[in-house]
């Protein structure tokens, strides 16, 4: 009896057929929605985000402990080590980018959503950067102190990471999309993505090194920014194409 009344309840009107009216501007709302959704999911699965972060802290802290208190040597190797640690920490989070959504069918629904898949992929990459890249940028100055970097060098390091970590997320997304659903995808994604990370590593670490040696970091930072601008345009498109293939 109760069931019958519930079924007849007009609280949810049935589709009269026809198009759903769109309430927000085209796509912008959907991008924000998926960023919010992915951040919410990251909050509910804190351990995965924290693992990458602790990995970054530990790797970058082991070197000063292992090498000893030779500040000249530490200052020379600092940018390289912090950048390599950032690369590896970003890699750890890549498997998380599309795989859970693929496993539970959410990715299929995204493909079928009226919102273009490219926008949703862009949103997912942005959320990935907020959960893995941004914490690295914020932590880097603290870790840099261990390597006896001065304030100017720490500033350059932060700017270089601010330009470089989104680049790592964008390039990584292509690798993650290409290896989606492939057995042993975790190893494959490292093999695919790490060579592509080389330019970011060279210019990112180079910016700090050239600042320390008095040459000025401008050139390296500009090149890093140019790479980022390129990646912002092409990486979501390439990742979307790869996802379409993986989902077929």
């Amino acid at each position: 009896m109760n069931k019958e009344t519930r079924r007849a309840a007009p609280s949810v009107s049935l589709p009269p057929g026809g198009r759903t009216e769109r309430s927000e501007g085209f796509g912008g709302g959907a991008i924000l929605a998926i960023i919010r959704r992915d951040l919410l999911l990251a909050m509910r699965r804190k351990s995965e985000v924290l693992t990458a972060l602790f990995f970054f802290i530990i790797v970058a802290s082991l070197f000063p402990l292992g090498i000893g208190p030779e500040s000249d040597l530490l200052r020379t190797i600092a940018p390289g080590i912090i950048w390599v640690a950032a690369l590896l920490a970003t890699m750890l989070g890549l498997a998380r980018l599309f795989a859970p959504d693929h496993a539970d069918g959410t990715l299929e629904q995204m493909l079928l959503s009226p919102t273009p898949l490219g926008l949703l992929v862009t949103g997912k990459i942005a959320a990935h950067w907020i959960t893995t890249g941004l914490p690295l940028v914020l932590l880097a100055p603290v870790l840099g102190i261990q390597f006896d970097l001065d304030v100017g060098a720490l500033g350059v390091l932060v700017v270089a990471l601010l330009l470089g970590t989104p680049l790592l997320s964008l390039i990584g997304a292509i690798g993650a999309a290409l290896t989606l659903g492939v057995r042993g995808g975790g190893v494959l994604v490292s093999l695919l993505v790490l060579p592509l990370y080389v330019p970011a590593l060279i210019f990112g670490a180079g910016a700090v090194e050239s600042h320390v040696s008095g040459l000025g970091a401008g050139g390296h930072l500009s090149l890093l920014a140019a790479l980022l601008a390129l990646a912002v345009f092409f990486a979501p498109w390439a990742a979307t194409a790869a996802l379409r293939i993986a989902l077929e």
Binding site: K3, R6, R7, A9, S11, V12, L14, P15, P16, G17, G18, R19, T20, E21, R22, S23, E24, F26, G27, G29, A30, A33, I34, R36, R37, L40, L41, R44, R45, A103, D104, G105, T106, E108, Q109, M110, L111, L112, S113, P114, T115, P116, L120, L247, E248
Partner: protein
Amino acid sequence: MLTATGLSCVRGERRLFAGLDLAVGPGEWLHVQGENGAGKTSLLRILATLSPPAEGEVRWQGEPVTVLAEDYRRAMLFLGHHGAVKEELTPLENLTLAAQLDGTTLDEATALAALVRFGLRGREDLAVRFLSAGQKRRVLLARLAVRKAMLWILDEPFTALDVKAVDMLSGLIEGHLAAGGMAILTSHQSMPLPNGKVLQL
């Protein structure tokens, strides 16, 4: 009106079906039947544009779906084998976020009403991973009540549902058809709904 002509599907070396024609008009529903592995899910995926047919064409209101793209996807709702429900989120969050990804907004009252209707009263703030398989399925099916779509493509919608939920879902589909909607579904059960056609693969 959804029409398909000369559809064929090849999986690996095997040809699952060929030369398949079908048409579903307003108020009609199509029951796709066949043994396991006959290609039911493959057919639904082709109709939902998730995979391209080896041959043939799917048309919606006379236009090829590949041309319509977004317009077709807006008019169609596909629910597959997978949950498409996030275990970490609550049923309420699942519904509202799914709507936002589609570029529409869903107010909380409507979402709640849909969940209550699917017998999830009191569970709306509990993470989905604490729910049973049948309840997870109900969360997914609640999308049928909140997402406006003319064509429903449902793959085994009755899996894991209890008798009550099966009744409720049948009622929902009946109402959808009565309002001029269309439905294509696979099921191993027979369904007492009007205007049904059967496609045997």
